[in-house]
Every structure is written in C-alpha cells, then in structure tokens.
C-alpha cells in the first residue's frame, strides 16, 4: 500500500482545498505506457492540478556513453526508444559521421532509410493502436499489433532481430538484405494499403472514438512551440515542420512525400483527434517513401572504411533527425584525444512532449487526461533514457 510518506518522497504535496482529493496514478498503470506517474488533484472528476513524475526507467545511458568507444555505444541507442530502434541508430550514426567526416555508400543510405521508414510505421501502429485502447476500444490495438507483426518479420530479415534492431554501423549497415526482401516488402505494402482503409472504417471514423478525442487537449501552434513539441505532435498543431525537409539527411530531399498537418478535421486544430489522424496520414506517406526507395535502390557496397580508432575532432555538435516521436537530437562533445565521447546528451521527442502535461491537464476530466496523454504517443524509456 502506498503511504503518504511514499508519495511525499518524490513529489511535494500541497494542502488540499475544499473538496479536493489526491489520486496517485501510476507508475504502473495501463495507460501510462511504461512507468510514468501522475499525482492528480481532483475536484470531483475535474483535474485541478497535476504533477507528472518520471525517472522510473532512468538507465543512465548518457553516463554509460562516457566509458566506451563510439561504436560500442550503438546498441544502447536502440534502447532509447525500443519501438523505433533503427531511427535511433540512424540519428546517432549520422551525428558521429557528420562530426568525423565519414562517407556512407549509397546502398547503405537506402537501406537505412528503408529500415527507419518501416520502423516509423511500426511505431505509429503502436501509437494509434494504444490510443484506441486507452479510450476504450480494444480491437483496433489487436489489428495494429497484427500488422506490426508483418513489419517485425521484415525487420527480422533485414536486421536480424525483431526488436531493438541494432542495424546501423558508422559508414554503413551491418548486413545486406537477401534477394527476395524487396518483393516481400512490396507485397506487404500492397496488403498494408488495404489495411489502412480497413482500420479507418473500423476506428478512425467511429462516432464514439471521434467524440472521445475531438476538442480534447487542444494545443495551439504557439503553445506547441513553447512546449517544444516536435514530430507528429507539432504538426498536429498546424505547424508543418519536418526535419526530413528542413534539415535534410540521407536521400530524403529526393523523396516525394507530403507533410500531413492538423487541420481540425473533426474539431479544433491541435486537438487529440488531429494528433491521431496525423499519425495515420504519416503511415501513408511512409508507404509512399518506401515504394520510392524500392524503385531506386541499386546494388553496391554497404560499408565504407572507418578508422579502427575513431577519434572525433575537438568540439561539440548537435545533430537532429526526425524520429517517429519527433526530434531526436544527439549533442556530442569530444575532447579530441579520447576514443570515447566526452559527453553525449540525447534529446528525445517524448521528453519534450511531457513538459506540456502539467498545464494541459488543468481543468480536464480524468478520462480526458488519459486520452490526451495517449494522443502524445509518449514512450517511457525515451523520456528517462
């Protein structure tokens, strides 16, 4: 049983006014997606004040990085966001490659993009499926997980593992794909097009689902900027920033794809439904990108030469990529002598999204608290690192 002392050991408790009651939600709670905790001050069913409490999954990845060579840190990056491992690998590899001035062969870049777009669909499926489950619809989650299974099979062929795919290497990738991989991917995409329509008919336009999400947790564009939102959450608020366009990396400038934005299709711009629908639309765009990759990829080497003792030049860099949960930034500091990084700071989309909770929760019903939080698609290990 949680005593008052346990609550106080993490969060300062202010005296309760009038009819207020204190509800401890989490850290183990089905809707907190991992271990995140909220202290909610409720007046009836209205949330008067909320204190988010994180850190339960802190694995000190940044401290670990200081004790090992650059290449040894690669497997830790796919534990930063376990739903989008290749994207995190890619972000780290690009940051180091940029600082060290390493070249990447063409085929390796295509394979990296292929892996990260597959992972983006994978991650968004979990995001939208879990959102539906959190507002009370269990079936869509099962459908999303079923589709994710096909992607995991593809990623297993490509990277060797189903989860925590440690795929990207400096100046390349760890292995080439077998001959029939592209035809299998094509087959999956043809199936996935049909699935998206099915999923929309199942849940996206379901009246109860729409009512639960529209006009809930409205975040305007200016607010989204002040909360440091990024990725789909920022775009849902009507600001069409996508780092694949604004800060191009890999071959994304050559790709033809749209950047979905929130338009308030069922309610107001920046409500929870917009955040949901932007993710659905982004899956369509990822399918487009993968089709283009499949038509453009050519035979060639997948790895260039990397110095055995990799030492980055003295100084610091900040490199960012567009991960499924938004801006994934690596701030790397090198002392110019050591083969291990002096300091690595990882900026993640989920951590930034969490900064909005205390303000947005104010005045919400408890059921909407769950809906808003699920629509942000926060993954706990990415918050705590």
């Amino acid at each position: 049983m949680i005593t008052e002392k346990d609550v106080q050991s993490r969060v300062e408790i202010t005296p309760l006014n009038g009819n207020e009651i204190l509800v401890n939600m989490g850290p183990h709670h089905p809707s907190t997606h991992g271990v995140i905790r909220f202290i909610l001050y409720l007046d009836g069913e209205i949330c008067v004040r909320a204190v988010p409490d994180v850190g339960y999954l802190h694995r000190s990845i940044e401290k670990i990085a200081e004790g090992m060579p650059y290449s040894f840190f690669m497997p830790y990056t796919d534990r930063v966001d376990y739903v989008a491992a290749v994207n995190c690998n890619l972000g780290y590899a690009l940051a180091v490659e940029q600082a060290a001035g390493l070249e990447v062969p063409e085929r390796a870049t295509w394979l990296r993009m292929l892996g990260s777009e597959l992972n983006r669909i994978n991650s968004h499926l979990i995001g939208v499926g879990a959102l539906a489950m959190d507002v009370g619809a269990t079936t869509p989650f099962v459908h999303a997980i079923r589709e994710r299974e096909y992607i995991m099979d593809l990623l297993e062929i490509q990277t060797g593992t189903r989860m925590n795919n440690n795929y990207v290497r400096f100046s390349g990738v760890c292995q080439d794909v077998p001959q029939d991989f592209f035809s299998k991917t094509e087959k999956f995409l043809n199936h996935f097009d049909l699935f998206l329509g099915e999923f929309d008919r199942l849940i996206s336009t379901n009246k109860i689902f729409v009512e639960r999400l529209k006009n809930v947790g409205i975040v305007t564009g200016d607010q989204a900027l002040s909360y440091s939102f990024s990725g789909p959450n920022l775009r849902a608020s009507g600001i069409g920033h996508d780092l694949r366009r604004l800060d191009p990396y890999c071959f994304y400038p050559d790709m033809d794809f749209d950047i979905p934005q929130g338009v308030g299709i069922k309610g107001t711009v920046g409500d929870s439904y917009d955040r949901y629908i932007v993710r659905i639309e982004e899956m369509v765009e990822s399918v487009k990108i993968i089709r283009q990759i499949l038509s453009k990829i050519k035979e060639g080497p997948i790895q260039s030469k990397v110095p055995k003792k990799l030492v980055l030049p003295e100084g610091e860099t900040y490199h960012r990529t567009e991960a499924p949960r938004g801006e994934l930034g690596f701030h790397i500091v090198s002392d110019g002598k050591s083969t291990s990084p002096y300091r690595i700071k990882i900026r993640t989309g989920s951590f930034a999204s969490m900064t909005s909770l205390a303000e947005v929760f104010k005045g919400m019903m408890v059921a909407d608290v769950v809906a808003y939080f699920a629509s942000l698609d926060v993954v706990a290990p990415e918050v705590d690192r």
């Binding site: 850190g55 401290k63 900027l225 440091s228 604004l246 900040y318």
Partner: protein, 179 residues
C-alpha cells in the same frame, strides 16, 4: 545542418555592449559564447525581436568541463550549459553557450520565457548540479530526491549504498577463480 552564423552575428550586434564571442566558426555548428549575467537579456531578444522569433527550444544540455592534469588527477573547469533554439519562421537554429564556474555553478532560469525549459533545467540540475536561480520548480527529475551527488559530473563517486541498498555487490565466483 542549418545552424545559422548570420543570425549569430546579428545577435552579437543586438546584444552590444555586452560582450560575446563566436566559437567553432568554421564547423557545422557555430556557437555564440556569452556571459551568464547576459542570459536573460539574450533570451528576451531572441524570443521577442522580430528578426529572430526564436520561440522554440530544441535542447538545453550541460557538460562538466574537465582536463586531466600531468599527475593524472582531474582539473575541474566548471560547467557548460548549451542552449539550442529554433526560429518560428523558418526553423533556422542557433546555439548559445554559457560557461559557469566550478564552485557554486548558477544561472538565471528561463522557464518563465519558455515553458519546456523547466524540465530541461531540472535535468541539468539533477545530473550536473547547476542551480537555476528563481526557477519555478527546481527538483530532481531522473533520480530520487534523497540521492547524493550529481552523476554526470566527472568527479562523481557513487555512494556504497542508497537507503540501505548496496550499489555494488561482490562477485561470488571470485572465491573459486584462480588469479
């Protein structure tokens, strides 16, 4: 990478007579180094001046600066705080660096100017021990409130135990292992 050096030069003019210096000029990420006392002035220019319109914080991170002396011990040189901000208009990005002294590192908070700054600052306070003056809510964020020390400092020594729980444990197989 669209880190902008022209914006940094404009900012350096705008914040005169306060002094500043552009470092890493030739690299992909030029940085404007400013004094800690000018931070709030600079952030207000960045946020409110129509030339910049920097309403967006990408990242705030801290680095404990050290060097290794000839006798192998650490020479502690203070803490660096790096602010990365982006423009609302075209998302062009700039980096601002502030170096704080080793003893009692403290800097003004910017969490009243940017909402998300509070969590970034809390993380730096938690892991590096920087005090953000006038912060609305400066508590540990990753570690428990009764944790001793700041782990990302280079001179950090972990305590042998936390609340009666040992932080290391002996390897039982050492007993049968031959040296």
């Amino acid at each position: 990478m669209n880190f902008s050096i022209t914006l940094l030069e404009k900012l350096a003019q705008e914040m005169a007579p306060s002094t500043s210096e552009i470092i890493q000029r030739e690299s992909k990420m030029p940085i404007l180094k400013i004094d800690a006392k000018d931070l709030r002035k600079v952030m207000l220019i960045l946020r409110d001046n129509p030339v910049f319109e920097m309403k967006y914080i990408n990242n705030i991170s801290g680095v404990h600066l050290t060097a290794i002396k000839e006798d192998g011990t650490l020479d502690l040189k203070g803490v660096e705080v790096l602010y990365v901000l982006s423009s609302k208009l075209d998302f062009s990005t700039i980096a601002i660096r502030v170096d704080l002294p080793e003893v009692n590192p403290e800097i003004d908070t910017i969490d009243d100017l940017f909402v998300s700054a509070n969590w970034f600052e809390r993380e730096i306070y938690d892991l590096l021990g920087v005090n953000f003056i006038n912060s609305q809510d400066l508590r540990r964020i990753m570690l428990p409130d009764d944790w001793q020390g700041h782990p990302l400092r280079r001179d950090y020594k972990e305590n042998a135990s936390y609340n009666g729980m040992p932080t290391t444990r002996p390897n039982e197989l050492d007993a049968i292992r031959v040296e």
